[in-house]
């Protein structure tokens, strides 16, 4: 009787500390669906999980395979790391005709999978954020920076996009240095960067990984006057760990729009279940899961066939707007044969031809020991 939507996450490995929040986001959607009467005439939605380890393609495809072939899921939320997503899609998802929506894979490469229209994501590609960050810095008059990025698909994709845009628009990247995850000490990397003479340091990494250490050591070294980060660095945990004094004035960006209604609705629902609404990618995961439920309902059966068409139909305009949590309303409209358009917690989730969503990037700054959202970057 259960309808299964799998969750494919990196529960172990480099983003293991982000994974629980993301899973909770998706589970919130599932519990809302079930609380509001389930789907397809009262059947319940369940969410089996599987671990990709994030870095091991073999483990990722194996886990995806288990979801696709053994659990018999209709669709999948995930994977998180781009490498894992690509491996899972190529090995299990696409051959198995399963729709996958990644809430966290930001690498531009995900767009290029030859996917029979099966792979989507609710998070903008890094290229959006990198470009936005570059424009933001230039608009603030910062014309010379040094970049250090985490040497994985996230960091490198972001750095490539940022550097290309920044240089094209007249900025100068004095140093562009990759660093590895999980080291105790990044002084050598920072020393190398500082030797370029740059005073603004752009850190493209994760807040609870290398990013934290780098920011702390950059502050300690006294070589940099301005710190800059991207979505991976956003989180009050960073401020608490490194110290407000060290981070005051740090500039950051993150995906998502503060102006859409869905964000507030989601925040309220998340707070009710003790989930930090600002947890990285939690809102995107919520959207992915909710969208899949809508698509299944729209598709009218627990079949995998034509699910991607249904997904496109429920996600994109035109149609009656559905906000996060409005499951009963959506069900009613679908039953009535009306077209709907989900406007999510993290964005309006209008998929383009490649299954990507347009990036909406906001500016953030650390003020009084907290990350504050300032507004959209255009």
């Amino acid at each position: 009787q259960e309808i299964k939507v799998g969750f494919l996450g990196g529960f172990t490995g480099p983003i293991e500390s982000l994974a629980p929040g993301i899973l909770q986001g998706a589970q919130l959607a599932v519990s809302q669906v079930n609380a509001q009467g389930g789907l397809l005439n009262g059947r319940t939605l369940s969410m089996p999980t599987a671990d990709t380890t994030c870095v091991d393609a073999s483990a990722a495809s194996n886990s995806a395979d288990r979801l696709v072939n053994s659990e018999g899921v209709v669709a999948i939320v995930g994977g998180l790391c781009s490498g894992a997503t690509i491996a899972a899609a190529n090995n299990a998802g696409i051959p198995g005709n399963v729709v996958m929506i990644s809430p966290a894979s930001t690498a531009p490469a995900v767009s290029d999978i030859n996917d029979n229209d099966l792979v989507f994501r609710t998070v903008p590609s890094d290229s959006f954020q990198g470009i936005a960050l570059a424009r933001l810095l230039l608009s603030k008059g910062i014309r010379e920076v040094a970049v250090t990025f985490l040497n994985n698909d996230y960091g490198r994709g972001l750095a490539d996009a940022f550097v290309a845009e920044y240089q094209m628009s007249g900025g100068q990247v004095l140093a562009n240095v990759a660093h590895e995850e999980g080291r105790a000490d990044y002084r050598s990397e920072l020393g190398n960067i500082a030797s370029s003479g740059a005073e603004t340091l752009v850190v493209l990494a994760y807040a609870d990984g290398s990013g934290q250490t780098i920011v702390r050591q950059a502050y300690e070294s006294g070589n940099f006057l301005q710190l800059v980060g991207a979505d991976g660095m956003v989180g009050d945990a960073l401020v608490n760990a490194v110290g407000a004094q060290a981070l005051e004035g740090m500039i950051a960006t993150r995906a998502g729009s503060p102006e859409i209604e869905g964000a507030d609705v989601f925040a309220a629902a998340a707070n009710a279940v003790n989930l930090d609404p600002n947890a990285v990618y939690a809102a995107q995961a919520y959207d992915a899961a909710f969208l899949l439920a809508l698509a299944i309902e729209k598709n009218g059966s627990a079949d995998r066939d034509s699910l991607s068409d249904a997904l496109r139909s429920v996600a994109t305009a035109p149609g009656e707007v559905i906000l996060p949590g409005e499951w009963e309303k959506a069900k009613r409209l679908i039953a009535a044969g009306q077209d709907i358009n989900y406007e999510g917690a993290a964005g309006s989730q209008e998929f383009d031809a490649k299954g990507d969503v347009p990036g909406v990037v906001v500016e953030m700054v650390v003020r009084n020991g907290r990350f504050e959202t300032l507004g959209l970057i255009d």
Partner: protein, 332 residues
């Protein structure tokens, strides 16, 4: 002058700090090796374990440090040393001793220690989670910026770095006296020479092994705690320390405590120097004779992404050039 200060900050201090950590780690590894004849892969995880115990203690008693004027974590470190030493002794009893009694080849115990590594890692993650943490719970790290005449850049050194250097020196001196002058120290050397004969001479080998683990465990906690104080505490800290620590132990000559210390600093400095941008030091020269040569912006030996392999290259070079290590190691 600015460039020179930059060099001091980024190579000398940096190298000395990581060198100290490697050195203390390598001393523990080499001590276990010389007395029990196997390469203890779980040493780095004992470092993490110790640091986590310190973290727990610091969270429980955050105000202790302020009383003494030192970081709380540092003040509470002795308790963690005692606990970890106990854990180390327990691990030995549970996993290594039975194998020793079966007279297995040393390599089998090495593999067992790999197993222990994985178990410790799993446990630490299971109970402590996986995110980075700071050992400064209610306090902030003191950073000393020392102004130097003729330079606009200050010399930068932090409190834990000073502690680390001081403690390393204290450990070296203490260990020297312990091994050479004390009865137990001599018994440990005797045991490492010939365990059977040590028993026959009335040396209680169980006690010696226990003391070895106590020292090794304590040293691991010192290295782990001071490193985490200086940088950050992560469960997978240990794996990245393993290679440099073993490289340091072998470079110095396995089974040789002073060698381990020398090896630690060799590896530490080599790492920082390999990724240092030497163009910085040439810049004043270039300013003086601008037409003499063209200065590339970046003159490093290897990119920072290859830093992890630097200890290993040194290891190979030393093994080829002098297979017993800098100091004459015992076994090859």
């Amino acid at each position: 002058m600015n460039e020179f200060i930059f060099f001091v900050n980024n190579v000398l201090i940096s190298g000395a700090v990581s060198g100290s950590v490697y050195a203390i780690g390598a001393v523990g590894v080499t001590l276990v090796f010389s007395i029990m004849r196997f390469a203890h892969f779980a040493h780095a995880d004992m470092m993490t374990l110790g640091a986590f115990i310190v973290l727990i203690l610091t969270t429980l008693f955050p105000g202790v440090g302020a009383v003494v004027g030192l970081p709380t974590a540092f003040v509470l470190m002795p308790i963690a040393m005692a606990v970890t030493a106990g854990v180390a002794v327990g691990i030995d009893r549970a996993f290594y001793k039975p194998l020793r009694q079966h007279n297995v080849k040393p390599i089998v115990i090495v593999i067992a220690s790999l197993g222990v590594t994985l178990m410790l890692q799993g446990l630490i993650r299971l109970f402590a989670g996986t995110s980075s943490r700071s050992l400064y719970v209610d306090e902030f790290k003191q950073i000393f910026r020392i102004d130097v005449p003729f330079a606009s850049r200050p010399l930068v050194i932090t409190e834990p770095q000073i502690l680390l250097l001081v403690v390393t020196i204290a450990c070296v001196v203490g260990l020297h006296y312990f091994l050479n002058k004390s009865r137990m120290g001599k018994a440990m050397r005797a045991m490492s020479d010939n365990p059977d004969l040590a028993r026959v001479s009335g040396i209680n080998t169980q006690t010696v092994i226990m003391v070895t683990w106590i020292i090794a465990g304590s040293l691991a906690v010192i290295a782990g705690t001071l490193l985490s104080l200086d940088v950050t505490l992560k469960p997978d800290l240990s794996f990245f320390l393993l290679l440099p620590i073993f490289a340091a132990a072998i470079v110095g000559g396995v089974g040789h405590p002073y060698g381990a210390i020398a090896g630690g600093f060799v590896v530490g400095f080599a790492e920082t120097m390999a990724v240092f941008n030497w163009a910085v030091l040439l810049r004043p020269l270039h300013r003086a004779f601008p037409n003499l040569f063209e200065l590339p912006a970046n003159l490093t030996l290897v990119g920072t992404e290859y830093k992890i392999v630097v200890p290993f290259f040194i290891l190979i070079a030393i093994l080829v050039w002098r297979p017993t290590g800098l100091f004459k190691g015992k076994v090859i």
